[in-house]
């Protein structure tokens, strides 16, 4: 248990700036604080829990292997047995879908690109009319201040979460 006289000695050393003595006296005082003893069942409970966790992980790993092997075997068997039929069907489906979707895709892409180029031209014209060097500097300045404010806010929020009231 910490003693009042030890506390007084430490505080005196701190006040008089005797750093080494203060360190030693504080260490002595802190060591005297009552320790928390683990409960009687703590070690057994923890080891059991560790073992349960390991068994669970081993089971999951084993199940993963079994599932992988089953999938690989099933895939190989399916491919071997049904490949002639499947190959024909797959090629037919791809050709059918491709024949119908490619013209649509080309048409939509062309329209989208037209819009894109129009917008780019308008945007370019507006920007060149509005953006003088002074305005560019002002916009960059505002963005920089915004980024700094966001960073500071994040730091404050982080410190708040840790319960640090000194920041």
């Amino acid at each position: 248990m910490p003693d009042r006289k030890e506390l007084e000695r430490w505080l005196l050393s701190e006040e008089t700036g005797q750093d080494d003595a203060a360190e030693a006296e504080f260490a002595h005082l802190f060591t005297a604080l009552p320790k928390v003893e683990p409960g009687a069942e703590f070690v057994q409970r923890t080891v059991s829990e560790v073992w349960r966790m390991r068994a669970r992980r081993r089971r999951i790993l084993a199940l993963g292997w079994v599932a992988t092997i089953i999938l690989v075997v099933a895939g190989a068997v399916t491919a071997y047995v049904a490949s002639p039929f499947l190959a024909t069907e797959v090629i037919k489906t791809i050709a059918f879908a491709g024949g119908r979707s490619v013209p649509w895709l080309v048409a939509y892409t062309t329209v989208a690109m037209d819009w894109w180029w129009t917008l780019a031209r308008v945007g370019g014209a507006v920007a060149s009319a509005l953006m003088t060097p002074a305005r560019v500097v002002a916009v960059l300045g505002v963005e920089l201040v915004g980024i700094l404010a966001f960073f500071a806010l994040q730091r404050i929020a982080g410190a708040e979460r840790l319960g640090d009231a000194h920041v």
């Binding site: 248990m1 910490p2 003693d3 009042r4 506390l7 007084e8 430490w10 505080l11 701190e14 006040e15 750093d19 203060a22 360190e23 504080f26 260490a27 005082l29 802190f30 060591t31 604080l33 009552p34 320790k35 928390v36 003893e37 683990p38 409960g39 703590f42 070690v43 409970r45 923890t46 080891v47 829990e49 560790v50 073992w51 966790m53 390991r54 979460r161 840790l162 319960g163 640090d164 000194h166």
Partner: protein
Amino acid sequence: MPPSDAELAKEALAGSEEASRELVARYAAPAINFVFRLVHDRALAEDLAQEGFLRVFQRLKTYDAERKFSSWFFQVLRNVAIDYLRVHRLQTSSLDELTEAGFQAPEADGTSSSPERLAEQEGLARAMDGALGRIRPEYREVVVLRYQEGLTHPEIAEILGLPSGTVKTYLHRARKELATLLKPFA
């Protein structure tokens, strides 16, 4: 000669339940005490210490036997405690509350009888605990690692990922803050 922590860790990794048990038994009290000083709740400290052990055994493969086991262990345990504290705010009791709850600054006549002296010491221990709960979390960590677990400055620096000089500064400032908080109890 008893096996070192690193040897026990290696055996535990190989699947020895006995080595795992020995490792848990060696670090149970330091782990619970370390977490207790951070969260000030005994039951919670046991739960978090157990979670810490689970994480330690889960990551035992990543332990480098060249490093001191205790440093690595406390690093993992600290992360568990910090994860908890990030989500749950730490409840701290102010020293005024402690005084109102019954602890008074002791009489200076030195003639106290034994039960009174014991009560005085218990009160002082509570006041120290309360003061520890009021300083910055990073200061609290270095104080506990240094003065309770007896780790060196470089070991603490490794655990907390700080330069050794910063650890020394934190310790110094922590002591000064604790001195200010505990002055009324002298």
